[in-house]
Symmetry: C2
Subunit: 718 residues, 2 copies
Amino acid sequence: MAEDSQDHSTNSKAGFSHPSQGREAGGRPQGENANRLHSPDLEEKQLLTGGRPGNRYVRIVRPYAREFRRRAPGHLVATERVLRPRGPFGLATETVRRVLIGPRLRTEQEKEERVGKLKGLAIFASDNISSSAYATEEVMRVLALASLGALALSVPITLAIIIILAIVVTSYRQVIRAYPNGGGSYVVAHENLGALAGLAAAAALLTDYILTVAVSVSAGVAAITSAFPELFEQRVLISVAAVFVVTMLNLRGIRESGNVFATPTYVYVVAILGLVGFGLFRMVTGSLPAYTAPPEWLAGQTAHPLTLLLLLRAFASGSVALTGTEAVSNGVPAFKPSEVRNAQVVLVMMGVLFASIFLGISVLSTQLAIVPHPEEVETVVSQLTRTLVGIGPYYYLIQFSTAVLLLLAANTAFNGFPRLASVLANDGYLPSQFQFRGDRLAFSVGIVSLSALSALLIVVFAGSVTSLIPLYTVGVFLAFTLSQAGLVRHWWRLRGEEHGWRQRAAVNTLGAVATGVVAVVVAGSMFMLGAWMVLVLMPVLMAMMWAIERHYRAFKDSLALERPNARLPKPEPPHVVVPVSRLDKAALIALAFARSISPDVTAVHVSTDPEEEKRMKRRWEQWGGEIPLVIVESPYRVLISPLMAYIDALDRQEPKRPITVVLSEFVPRHLWEYILHNQTALRLKIRLFFRRNTIVVDVPYYLGGENEPEHLDDGIGE
Amino acid sequence: MAEDSQDHSTNSKAGFSHPSQGREAGGRPQGENANRLHSPDLEEKQLLTGGRPGNRYVRIVRPYAREFRRRAPGHLVATERVLRPRGPFGLATETVRRVLIGPRLRTEQEKEERVGKLKGLAIFASDNISSSAYATEEVMRVLALASLGALALSVPITLAIIIILAIVVTSYRQVIRAYPNGGGSYVVAHENLGALAGLAAAAALLTDYILTVAVSVSAGVAAITSAFPELFEQRVLISVAAVFVVTMLNLRGIRESGNVFATPTYVYVVAILGLVGFGLFRMVTGSLPAYTAPPEWLAGQTAHPLTLLLLLRAFASGSVALTGTEAVSNGVPAFKPSEVRNAQVVLVMMGVLFASIFLGISVLSTQLAIVPHPEEVETVVSQLTRTLVGIGPYYYLIQFSTAVLLLLAANTAFNGFPRLASVLANDGYLPSQFQFRGDRLAFSVGIVSLSALSALLIVVFAGSVTSLIPLYTVGVFLAFTLSQAGLVRHWWRLRGEEHGWRQRAAVNTLGAVATGVVAVVVAGSMFMLGAWMVLVLMPVLMAMMWAIERHYRAFKDSLALERPNARLPKPEPPHVVVPVSRLDKAALIALAFARSISPDVTAVHVSTDPEEEKRMKRRWEQWGGEIPLVIVESPYRVLISPLMAYIDALDRQEPKRPITVVLSEFVPRHLWEYILHNQTALRLKIRLFFRRNTIVVDVPYYLGGENEPEHLDDGIGE
């Protein structure tokens, strides 16, 4: 008992006096439940002896514990019970959700995994390394437009791209150093170059992530359909299904679990390096098999002259190889200590591995004089593998591991996009819904948005990697450039503190210039092929995010309290208007509520019929309630406008008091009943919603005796 | 000045004490406006000397007179100003309405015209007499299915139909006597045979009216396209346009103005009687011109045997001639005294006129051996006129006056349907919207419904009179039968009071039997041709009306007060729950309102993020408002379900007090801003709307400094 009273005093301190005590103090009558004390934190206490003050009482602890645990006074924790589905529809939805995405996770169930170099490489390199599945092919496709002989230029172009890769890797080693907490292009650009550059980086990255999914999934499905050409016709359907599966896995909250990634990444790396090594060995030994492309593959094409523009386009297409390079720098905090060191090592390893694979594939494809399939039915890698090792287990190993790795690359975007969107939403640039984390702690809105947009792209571009590439590369290099430029500014700022800032700035300047030039080359050479879409979309996206941020800021500014201890205004009761069409129970319920909240209540009857008006007046007098009735005659039989005008006029009388309108609304049991009522109430509510300074109160009325609210029955008909 | 104080005492008597006085009595502080006295009927008085009680004051009379006139204390009359359109969209809508349907009419502007015999005949006979334009043709169309020779049977069938007409006219003379206030089939059946028969009559009549419009307009357009066959292809479009014009005229509130009707009706009657007379004269003198139908008109048909069924079908089709016979008995009160006598005379005149025209057309058509056009390109009347007088002014006079008369017949339905619907709505059988009278005192909902349904029928049946007839006649004769049967019951009831009741009952029994037999013949012989649709639709309509009435009755019963002087419950302040997501101005405005209506206010913060939860707690303590805050932790990051469960738990604590939820809602300036907010509030509102016993208060919040509600600024930041 001593514990109880102690606990009770704690409650009072925290502001949890019992309402019935409060009512006593306010001079209001105690209800019939006076021997029960309630508190808003759902702790019920029962007086044992007659309800006289000063008596001891028994506390019934947690009578509502099934839905809530009481952590402290005024602090409840909802249990999973509050989420129990209601009704057959709710149950069905719930069942489907649980089957598809698994049981709900509590917020504190979030786990973080730290990874070492090997797992780190697997996780963060998948996006980049997977580009080797299509980069060579994209270069060759452009060159093939000129002639078969031009295909020999693949190797020099590959080397040029690898030089850019080296510059980017070196630059990003410094990003890792400068932003050990994760240096995405948006963060770096926003912090160093201002909001506009940040928005440009964000827009570039968002489109990038969407295209990563579209391109990776399309390329992954191409690896499969190369092995099974009979599936080629269904490639769009298969791709969309793959996006759906990845979406579901991500809504389940699959995180970058090292083990999931490690196996496929290393299987691919080992298998493809083995293939390249085997091929190079045969090349050196002069035992390369013969390959002849079907002559009709080039028959239909009009040979383009081998212009500089074509060369630049080939280079631009191959630059897709650099996508995903920034992933390591985004994920520095996920590495085991020392994080920066580990990340840097992984970055360089990734660069070396990727360069080897890319160069190897380009050299071997050129040596074999492989010709890309004009309708993208078979990939270059598939042709190369088939020629080198024949169709057998090794061939299928290569194809399947390529497909799986590409799906993992798509999955990377499913981690990146929703997280970036949530950061942007947190900064006010995107609707706040993107911050919401669903049942499994995943950013559901971002995941579903990414899924829908990338699936749309796949359908529109019929799952063709080559058609998607022109849209893809612009954004990637724009983000690179902004990030590197931001870093130059970063070092310049630290010029007093950090020695060696000059060299670092020089490295990033080189990076910025190189990636900037590539961005211009890509945009220029592929403008008409689709890059224009991105260049149009990005400013639109930026303007949208800017407008959203401006709105949210204006909203927050206008809501901010001038002082943290701002006082509530003195509770002045509102002026309450109750529109009544008939004097019935529903009207009395509304009037009773109006009286309970204010002494200034006016009932308004808009009359359209002299007969009914007389009846109303008579009944009102007969009733003899203390509420004044104003009759507003509406000679044009309109109900809402006279009421609105009346409220306006009232408002002009006393502009400083808010008008409160109490509406009695019928709650139907069936939907069809709804159209028989409420038409006027609904239209009135919409008009009132847009009227300044008006508070609307909905008092529901339910049909049928037993369902009638008890507390209102008591008073009526007394 | 003496007058002022006198007037003020009157106000007090009617319950119009000034709120500030009321507040004084309730011990509440006087506001800064204390020297201004307001009253809810918008009468403002200003104290001249410092606001001390007992002082005299000057009244400013009608400061808000622009929108309202003050008729008596507590009684305002809205002026047309309250209807002034707002914004460009409102203005555009208003302009279109005023141009299409004319200026608004006040309720007292309704006029009633009483008519004598001549105008009465024109008004009430148009529907019936216009049937002569197609009745003969419909008989012939059926007979033509057998052979050209069978067409000679048109005259006997016409005579049979005229006998039925005579019985119906005699019967309805008695309806006029029995129901001098207008005896529609619904009223007679409902009153004498009970609700079910009333519903059957109502369903029959509603379908009838719809079909009257469809058939009359189609036949009218057929009269025009007979004269101008190049318009035949556009007949559906022309018909729909005609329905639209008639709809607009009726929304303008065209009443049965005698003059509008008199001219076309008499022009038609005189012209067609002239034609018939001329034809009969030539027939008697043996100088009828020769007519030969193109032989291909019957070539494609397989000759049906001339069975009894075919004869019955011909009779049934011709029975369409009786539609509109009941119009006179519906309109008895519109006649000048003595109403009954005048109506009876008009009824008999109508019967005689119609029978003459109908018989004349049938006889002449048979004599000339006219064959109906198989594709309904030219009407029989057109062929007859053309043959008798040639294509010239008289021919066009006949065709045009036929078309105009048929449109007037359609217009009759536009008077009948909305009125019947409003009577049904008044009895609770149709949604109450059908009782609403629009800008021009017309029952807009009924007019628009009739218009839409009949236009739909015209489109579905491609404007073919012959296809529509099977649907039309069943309902007509069903309504006749119910009405006559009702009258038999009526006379039986009056058997003590009225002498000669036996004869009257006998007449109506004959009428009931005759029309009942025809109804069965029509339903049976044309069942497969479309009568089945009506026979299926009618029970559906009846069930619908029955369900609506049952619902409205249950609704009214449950709302009815047990005693006219039922007391309001003692105003017990509600338990107010205010969900708060952040402690900002919007929250304070909601909390301030909550405090103003009740001392029991609990703020609830559903927390999904431990960081924000801590911030909220800290700010709440810093703020130091007197309102307890309950934090509901939601480990699954769901916002609405824990809140609903919390409200449920509160409710279980004190089930007798209503829960009031105060929501602060952002009112956007642009629609796109809306999707950035309120998503949760909206979903919460829907959930709360369906929760029993919960009152929802919407406190609006507007963006931007200047728009901020002043009265709340005062208190905040003080």
